[in-house]
Assembly symmetry: C2
Homo-oligomer: 256 residues x 2
């Protein structure tokens, strides 16, 4: 039986206020939990079906003697999960304490007020695919510990480190090329020669990059448009820019 206190805690962690009060967040579903138990994050509680526990027993035992494990039925797990059907489990995880890094390796994404959790999760997954391990978020960007962000990232939240800071002071000190996406302005990503290191700045879903932050762009870039759609979703734009940046870097290496 899962103690009532634990159930109450899990329900409360669906809300940002309680996540930051407790410094805890939830990870749900088989794939994410398996990757979580293989990561350096501290898992405090795991509520799981007997099938999932038996399937991953060696993994779970290796993890930590301090981990509280509760067995529950699939229906009971789904009832406290943010997934409609959760046939694996829910883990309660400690938020890591992070300091914004003063130096970067390669590229980082800088997110100026991304509001949709699905977009943020998808951007984390894209960063992970393209080998970008750092994302810097403005304070207003949606919480990276939101259950929908964690789920949309498909496990990539474990490999991409997300920092949160005031963008203007961060960009001022960055001393790196800052590639900013502006609709129909700047150099086409198809023609741009990306520097070996830099920041890719992405703006809010409806407003784009905010006025204050825009001033720090050193290289305005655009994604060439061939048809009539007015814009691309921000996660789509992120993918196209990362793909062109990596393509450019690879082809430069081959040429030299």
């Amino acid at each position: 039986m899962v103690p009532k206190k634990t159930l109450k805690l899990i329900k409360s962690l669906q809300l940002k206020k309680y996540r930051y009060q407790e410094k805890l967040f939830l990870v749900e579903g088989a794939k994410s939990i398996v990757e979580l138990l293989d990561s350096s994050l501290r898992v405090r509680t795991l509520i799981s079906t007997s099938v999932f526990i038996n399937q991953h027993i060696s993994f779970i035992q290796r993890y930590s003697p301090e981990l509280e494990i509760y067995q529950a039925e699939e229906s009971a797990i789904s009832s406290i999960s943010s997934f409609k059907n959760n046939n694996a489990g829910i883990a309660v995880v400690e938020m890591p304490a992070l300091q914004v890094p003063s130096a970067l390796v390669g590229y980082a994404l800088v997110l100026d007020n991304i509001r949709d959790p699905g977009n943020l999760g998808t951007i984390i997954r894209i960063a992970d695919w393209y080998g970008i391990s750092t994302i810097i978020c403005s304070p207003e960007t949606t919480d990276e510990f939101h259950p929908k962000v964690i789920s949309a990232s498909m496990g990539s939240f474990l490999r991409v480190v997300i920092y949160r800071t005031e963008l203007t002071s961060y960009l001022q000190k960055a001393k790196l090329p800052i590639y900013g996406t502006l609709v129909n302005q700047g150099t086409s990503v198809h023609d741009l020669d990306f520097a070996p290191q830099g920041l890719i700045l992405l703006g809010n879903e409806s407003e784009g990059i905010s006025e204050l932050v825009k001033g720090y762009i050193t290289n305005a870039v655009c994604i060439p448009q061939f048809g009539n759609a007015e814009s691309l979703n921000v996660s789509i734009a992120a993918a196209v820019i990362c793909d062109n940046m990596k393509r450019n870097a690879t082809h430069r290496r081959v040429a030299s």
Copy 2:
């Protein structure tokens, strides 16, 4: 006052069964409705706020004398809308009668069992951005008239024509290069020389391209991976492939 019969019809059109029974679908929100009234689709009914009607009166008057227009409060519109907040209106639109084209101009996307309405809508928007005006869907692909598809396409459903047919017989007769996306298999999209005309085949969110359809791929393509994410979302993959195809076509034109 909106007649009860109309309200009931609108509610029923949230469901696929009634959409196909009535051969009608819904278009919601200001941006989509404005573009709709400027398109060749036949709008039967428009329920709208007085603000929206006044703002677009010339547009609406130009449209058709047969259009039934009802004025309603924002709260009343939101209560029958699939949007949480709909501050503009809902239109009831006749489904166009379409025959799968025997010939194509340029590229088309072929969707093998895309299930998520958000993904389908995003793919329609991407096609529109990259100037691809034809999408061929397998019969199992989610309904293109689903309110979430219409909304995620951001008006692009008006410019991209969507056909539905058995993919195996369609691909068999296609006589075009068929680019199929397979994870970590085939030629990198960064190195591929795309033909001037062709089909880009995209598979289901979790299963990928189905076994029966896979056999028709003439050019297996992959998106190079630089980090550790296992896969990319299908709409992200669609965007990256379209971007590389267009980049390739443009650079070929410049080079020749």
